[in-house]
């Protein structure tokens, strides 16, 4: 039961990652690409959580937490750069 759900879920999240990647390549503007990167890291968290359930291993949680922290900081830094042309003032 769970295995079937996991397979469907992995397919869906993989497709989602592909769609996000398409937007990242296509653009057309810089905020679009930043938004795509933002979504990409959230999708990666989803994939890691699913992988953790598939392998029955809790260790992937740390990786997901770190990606969440770093991804947020990265998005904020890129937005700041667009808004002010400067990251550290």
């Amino acid at each position: 039961m769970i295995e079937l759900a996991l397979n469907i879920a992995l397919t869906l999240v993989g497709l989602a990652t592909a769609l996000t990647f398409w937007r990242l390549l296509r653009g057309p503007s810089a905020p679009d690409r930043i938004l795509a990167l933002d979504t990409l890291y959230i999708n990666t968290i989803a994939l890691l959580v699913l992988l953790g359930i598939v392998l029955g291993n809790n260790i992937y949680f740390e990786a997901a937490l770190l990606i969440a922290l770093m991804g947020f900081v990265g998005t904020i830094a890129l937005c700041k750069y667009l808004l002010r042309g400067d990251i550290i003032e």
Binding site: M1, I2, L4, A5, L6, I8, A9, L10, L12, V13, L15, A16, T17, L19, T20, W22, R23, S29, A30, P31, D32, I34, L35, A36, D38, T39, I42, N43, I45, A46, V49, L50, G52, I53, G56, N58, F61, A64, L65, A68, L69, F72, T75, I76, C79, K80, L82, L83
Partner: protein, 110 residues
């Protein structure tokens, strides 16, 4: 019984994650694209994490609640990044389907 709940949560989570990314790929202008990832993807990942917490509490030695941390963190940070992205887009005057308010209403862009 718990298996069924976990499966349903996993499917709901993956479905919302997919719909969020579909919105990102499909909608016409930047401001509407912003809605998919901030809402659908956040809820999707949230319910995947709840499923994970239930699964590891069920199979593991004790109750596993640390997934709540990521959920909480995403629910706090996703609106912040959405707000800053919208601000950056207004600053760059991106094309919008909806009429953008005039300059003095938008104010200084700090």
């Amino acid at each position: 019984m718990l298996d069924i709940i976990i499966s349903i949560l996993i499917l709901i989570g993956a479905g919302f994650t997919f719909v969020g990314s579909l919105g990102l790929a499909r909608l016409k202008d930047f401001y509407t694209r912003l809605h998919g990832p901030t809402k659908a993807t956040t809820l999707g990942v949230g319910s995947l994490l709840i499923a994970s917490a239930l699964y590891f509490s069920h199979t593991g030695p004790g109750i596993s609640l640390h997934e709540v941390l990521i959920t909480l963190f995403l629910f706090i940070t996703a609106p912040v990044s959405a707000h800053l992205l919208a601000k950056a887009a207004l600053h760059l005057r991106l094309h919008s389907q909806a009429p953008v308010p005039e300059e003095d209403k938008v104010g200084n862009r700090d």
